[in-house]
């Protein structure tokens, strides 16, 4: 802890290493005042120095990192396209294209008459669902095995996947902060009990337990949109432990900081200590944790959906569109069906990771360069 503080201190006190903040030391520099005192008598030197609050410093550092900017832009584009894109189309995720032309089916019949072999081809034309169509002007990414437009499904799927990510992470963080906060603030046996619960949730094998939950939802015939809500709750229920542990650790170390002791000696009421001093200090870590968490929740949800245990069809999510690749011919010949959602998942998770990393470095001056 001590070492960290020292580093921070070094960093903050070296003027002009990277920040354009002029650290005002002891006395004002006379030349500068001389130069600048003509406009108004009342203007002080200090009014001219740009003062950056810690939040502004973080923002500066964040926007300087290229990878996190790439991530941020990608995310913005993904969200915009997913939520606005479908408005320009008359199709949606469950529209089935029935007039996809005719498909032909040929049967080969071979029979031998008088030693000669004849082969007859029985060809039937059927006006049918336009399924597994390759990309065209009508369907930019083709259609899936049920004749639904892949692009539309990817966009609507994005809406659900990205929304589930946010909902789950927000709820999970709330629960984690409450539990971790209680454990860290009250300590003693409360802490013991909560931390043992956290340990238990930490050691639960995540994928199997989520699969079991999905199976339970299926067995209880929870279907449609309700299934999505339940899925969110399940993800929250098994996901808060990490945040709780983080918050508790942070609060425990903050409690030992001298400025918290100073608050105490000042007789500052408890709510003020929690809301003005503890939470703002835990917030940076939480934001990082949430950003990184968004990526992993999207990954988990898509894995479940891929296994057919997440968001039920006909609702689209990126995960259950990729389910198509379990059919070997689709895997072989129809990359246009399962490729795009996969790339979307990858882009989203990657971007959240980049942004999260950038935020972490921005909050932690030690890592900066």
């Amino acid at each position: 802890m001590d070492k960290e503080n020292n580093n921070e201190r070094d960093e903050l006190l070296t003027p002009g290493t990277a920040e354009p903040v002029e650290a005002v030391n002891e006395e004002a520099k006379p030349q500068e005042t001389a130069e600048t005192d003509q406009p108004q008598e009342t203007e002080n030197l200090s009014d001219r120095v740009k003062v950056l609050s810690p939040a502004q410093l973080v923002a500066r550092r964040f926007f300087r990192s290229k990878l996190s900017m790439i991530g941020l832009v990608t995310l913005l584009v993904l969200y915009l396209v997913c939520f606005i894109g479908p408005l320009f189309s008359d199709m949606d995720y469950k529209t089935i294209d029935y007039n996809g032309g005719s498909s032909s089916q040929s049967t080969e019949i071979t029979y031998t008459v008088d030693g000669e072999t004849y082969t007859m081809y029985d060809i039937t034309y059927t006006e049918s669902i336009n399924l597994k169509a390759y990309p065209s002007a009508d369907h930019w990414l083709g259609t899936d095995e049920n004749g639904r437009d892949v692009l539309m499904r990817v966009l609507y799927g994005g809406q659900i996947s990205l929304t589930i990510g946010i909902v789950v992470v927000v709820l999970e963080t709330l629960l984690g902060v409450i539990m971790g906060g209680i454990a860290g603030y009250f300590g003693k046996w409360v802490d013991q009990i909560i931390m043992r619960i956290v340990d238990i949730f930490y050691c639960i094998p995540q994928m199997p337990i989520l699969l079991i939950c999905s199976a339970i939802l299926a067995a209880n015939e929870v279907n449609g949109i309700a299934r999505i809500y339940w899925l969110c709750l399940v993800l929250v229920f098994f996901g808060w432990a990490g945040t709780a542990r983080l918050v508790r650790g942070q609060i425990l170390s903050l409690r030992e900081q001298e400025f918290m002791l100073a608050e105490r000696s000042m007789g500052v009421p408890v709510w003020r200590k929690i809301f003005l001093h503890l939470i703002p200090n835990v917030l940076p870590l939480l934001i990082v944790q949430m950003t990184l968490g968004l990526g992993s929740v999207i990954l988990t949800e898509s894995t479940l959906s891929y296994l057919g245990l997440g968001v039920p069809i006909p609702y689209a999510t990126w995960g259950n569109i990729i389910q198509a690749l379990r059919d070997f011919t689709t895997l072989q010949y129809h990359f246009h069906i399962w490729g795009p959602p996969g790339i979307c998942i990858m882009l989203a998770v990657l971007s959240f990771n980049f942004v999260g990393d950038g935020l972490r470095d921005a909050f932690d001056p030690k890592m900066k360069k």
Binding site: I209, I212, I216, T303, L331, M346, V349
Partner: protein, 327 residues
């Protein structure tokens, strides 16, 4: 030290209790007639399904309340009786024993590759921080972390098995019509394991590499490294003698995860590549509601996870002279 170990064992037991109880309680949330309907569905292949269904109900204390039922299950489990599978009526522990070796071999190779690749790469990236090596490895590991395993497997199968035809596209552990034994069988199976091992390794590299990099960076910025530089110690020696030794300590915590992963297999990759390992088994068991198998599997993993954490803590204390247990 002794007191600490005793305390940790007690906590570990509590954790295992908790995990198994939660799993059990979840399973009790299934609808009432679930077990019977599951067995009834298998009546064609399983002539004595009624008897088995009754046995399962008894084993799980379905007629009792959750707590009593749980302790009844626990009593049987401690005796090693995890019941019979719903799917084929086989003893669950035997099923686990049969499917374990493949998964274990795969995971072992993955773990070795992971350590052999990720740690040197992590060190390299840290030493050349913000250099091209650092950026490239960072982006690639990030890709590894962000790729959904099923999507990546799909791509790999399409590219290497379907398009390039380097591997058998029919998947599975051995070629469908393969006849042979001894070395031939070995090579055939080994060839089939290359792709899944590749996928799993790529996906698992990222975490360890980043962890190594962060720790290495922290160590490299420490004062004693600066002192070593000032003394004129060679860069090679600084990195491998001074810095790496201190990076190795936090790395030990990573090994807590490896123990469990060695034995639990990978559900998705095994399922995609059609390898009948324990991950595949547990996947089919879960989707088909084979509760006895799932309970046993989850207990097994939980025990391994707890054991892994416990061992790494002890190891940590042995390796790092500064760590004092019990405080």
């Amino acid at each position: 030290m002794f007191k600490y170990i005793v305390k940790r064992i007690l906590i570990s037991i509590i954790i295992i209790f908790g995990v198994t109880f939660i799993t059990y309680a979840l399973f009790r949330m299934m609808p009432d007639n679930y077990v019977y309907s599951k067995f009834a569905a298998q009546s064609a292949t399983n002539p004595n399904w009624q008897e088995q269904a009754a046995r399962v109900e008894h084993l799980y204390g379905l007629d009792l309340n959750v707590f009593v039922g749980y302790f009844k299950w626990l009593g049987n489990a401690i005796k090693g009786d995890f019941g019979n599978s719903f799917i084929d009526g086989a003893v669950v522990t035997d099923k686990i024993k049969q499917s374990l070796p493949v998964s274990f071999i795969m995971s072992l190779i993955v773990s070795i590759l992971q350590i052999a690749i990720a740690i040197p790469l992590g060190i390299k990236a840290a030493v050349n921080q913000y250099g091209p090596t650092d950026y490239i490895t960072t982006v690639f590991t990030m890709l590894g972390i962000s790729l959904p395993s099923f999507f990546f497997s799909g791509i790999i199968i399409k590219v290497f098995a379907v398009d390039l035809k380097w591997f058998d596209a029919s998947l599975g552990l051995q070629s469908g019509n393969f006849q042979g034994n001894g070395w031939q069988l070995f090579w055939n199976q080994a060839w089939h394991l290359v792709l899944p091992i590749f996928v799993e390794t790529v996906l698992s590299l990222g975490g360890l590499m980043r962890y190594t990099r962060t720790n290495m960076l922290e160590v490299l910025s420490a004062d004693y490294i600066r002192t070593a530089k000032a003394k004129g110690v060679k860069k090679r020696n600084i990195v491998y003698k001074h810095a790496f030794k201190n990076t190795a300590i936090p790395l030990i915590t990573m090994f807590s995860g490896i123990l469990a992963s060695l034995f639990c297999g990978s559900m998705i990759i095994e399922q995609i590549f059609g390898i009948q390992g324990i991950g595949f088994q547990s996947y089919t068991a879960t989707t088909q509601g084979d509760i006895p198998f799932v309970m046993a599997y989850n207990t097994f993993i939980a025990v391994l996870t707890v054991l892994g954490i416990f061992l790494s803590d002890i190891l940590y204390a042995i390796v790092d002279p500064r760590v004092k247990l019990g405080n």
